[in-house]
């Protein structure tokens, strides 16, 4: 089978692989790079469990081919914690019980990270809009919204 080279940064590390063109970015991250934090739910773009940050923007990794990410900088959920410390959003999800089964959580964290990086003081409506990109079957979203609000406040307060 013919392959195409993809060379990219993921969570600050450089990778170069030869993969079939049809390999989805989600499968590349999970299977080629063993980064299982990015989940696969629907593979048609509606559930959001596959969200990753590509050059700072949340995208559905199930709707991109890995080869399209050549030259890109990707951050997955594994790249949020730094120096052994949870990202404020991760800490907030924990503190505010923003997850139950955890399946949607990586995608939620990615959406929330993009939101807070672009809009550090989001309104409740903006938080709801951002997390509406992700399906959660467990929580009813209340504690997810709370967690994002809490993280925004913590980041603003400069406690990290």
């Amino acid at each position: 089978m013919s392959t195409v080279n993809v060379t990219l940064m993921v969570n600050g590390h450089r990778y170069s692989r030869d993969v079939p063109a049809r390999m989805l970015l989600s499968d590349f991250l999970r299977d080629e790079l063993a980064l299982k934090g990015t989940h696969v739910g629907c593979e048609h773009g509606v559930c959001g469990t596959c969200n990753v940050l590509l050059d700072g923007r949340a995208v559905r990794s199930c709707l991109m081919f890995a080869v399209q990410a050549d030259g890109a900088e990707i951050r997955t959920v594994e790249g949020l914690a730094a120096n052994g410390k949870l990202h404020p959003l991760q800490d907030a999800f924990w503190q505010k019980h923003g997850l139950q089964c955890g399946f949607c959580t990586p995608g939620m964290l990615i959406s929330a990270t993009e939101l807070l990086e672009r809009c550090p003081e989001p309104s409740e409506e903006q938080i709801r809009e951002a997390v509406s990109a992700n399906l959660c079957r467990c929580t009813g979203y209340f504690n997810i919204v709370e967690a994002v609000r809490h993280a925004a406040a913590e980041l603003k307060g400069g406690s990290r």
Partner: protein
């Protein structure tokens, strides 16, 4: 649900892309944002032999005013257009409609050109283009032609694009600041495709409607203008009675296509309600 294998071509400029399209004909498909094509490939609804990835073709994503037109490159991402001050100023209907289009991650990759080339009958932007009398620039190795939005959307996932052609630009006449506009949509959840959506632009002169454009998505099997509703408000003061009559005319605009979310009767009710709301709101914005 994984896509079948394909040959992958990544042209570095527009000429190379057009040549690839010409060479491969029906066997090749353009990969732009991928937010419509890749789901279909993942579900094996389509299995293109060759994908022509145009994401490295520069210069196709610009937004600018040229003369009397707002010109949007086909590769402009939805997210950029939603935040664009030029779009907000010269086509505020588009900005408003973007509040109903999908979700952030989809908008970050999806392109306006890809969306309208795909022409899902329930997609919002084709209705916006129709209500704004847009012109679509279609290019091939043979040259360029302009197609009016009215002549572009032909059926479900069917457009006037010919084999070997790709959309490069969308031109919309700059809206005068006095023009009223409104976009109304009903969908199962925020961000879903429209069950029915209505886009309206209105011009008023001397207390009477001098020009009206009404377009809908989700009702029939493709986005369409609604001349019967337009005719019912032009020349009137667009008062409650005229709006009611115009909205009622929308019910019979076309044969509604029943869907999972709405049967024919519900779609007719929806189009009447949404036409009325859109006309009312558009009027309040007229100067």
């Amino acid at each position: 649900m994984k896509p079948s294998a394909f040959e992958y071509v990544r042209p570095g400029n527009l000429d190379e892309a057009l040549q690839a399209l010409s060479r491969y004909g029906e066997r090749g498909r353009i990969l732009a944002g991928g937010q419509s094509l890749v789901p279909m490939m993942n579900m094996r609804l389509v299995a293109p032999e060759i994908l022509i990835d145009v994401n490295r073709v520069t210069g196709l994503d610009r937004v600018r005013v040229e003369g009397a037109d707002l010109v949007i490159g086909a590769m402009a991402r939805h997210a950029a257009l939603r935040e664009s001050p030029e779009v907000a100023r010269h086509c505020p209907l588009m900005t408003e409609a973007y509040g109903h289009v999908a979700h952030g991650p989809i908008r970050n990759r999806g392109t306006l050109g890809g969306n309208v080339s795909h022409a899902d009958p329930a997609s919002e932007m084709p209705a916006v283009l129709l209500a704004c009398d847009a012109t679509l620039t279609c290019r091939s190795v043979a040259g360029e032609r302009s197609v009016a939005a009215r002549d572009f959307f032909l059926g479900p996932l069917q457009t006037a694009l010919r084999t070997g052609e790709m959309l490069t630009e969308i031109r919309l006449p700059v809206a005068p600041p006095s023009r009223g506009y409104a976009f109304e949509e009903h969908s199962a959840r925020h961000g879903d495709f429209a069950v029915v959506a209505v886009a309206v632009t209105l011009d008023v002169a001397g207390g009477r409607v001098s020009r009206a454009a009404v377009a809908m998505a989700g009702f029939g099997d493709h986005a369409m203008r609604v001349p019967s509703v337009e005719a019912a408000v032009v020349g009137t003061a667009c008062d409650a009675r005229a709006i009611a009559a115009a909205a009622a005319a929308g019910r019979d605009a076309a044969r509604p296509v029943p869907s999972y979310h709405a049967d024919e009767a519900y779609k007719r009710d929806l189009v009447e309600t949404l036409c009325a709301r859109a006309l009312e709101r558009a009027l309040t914005r007229c100067r």
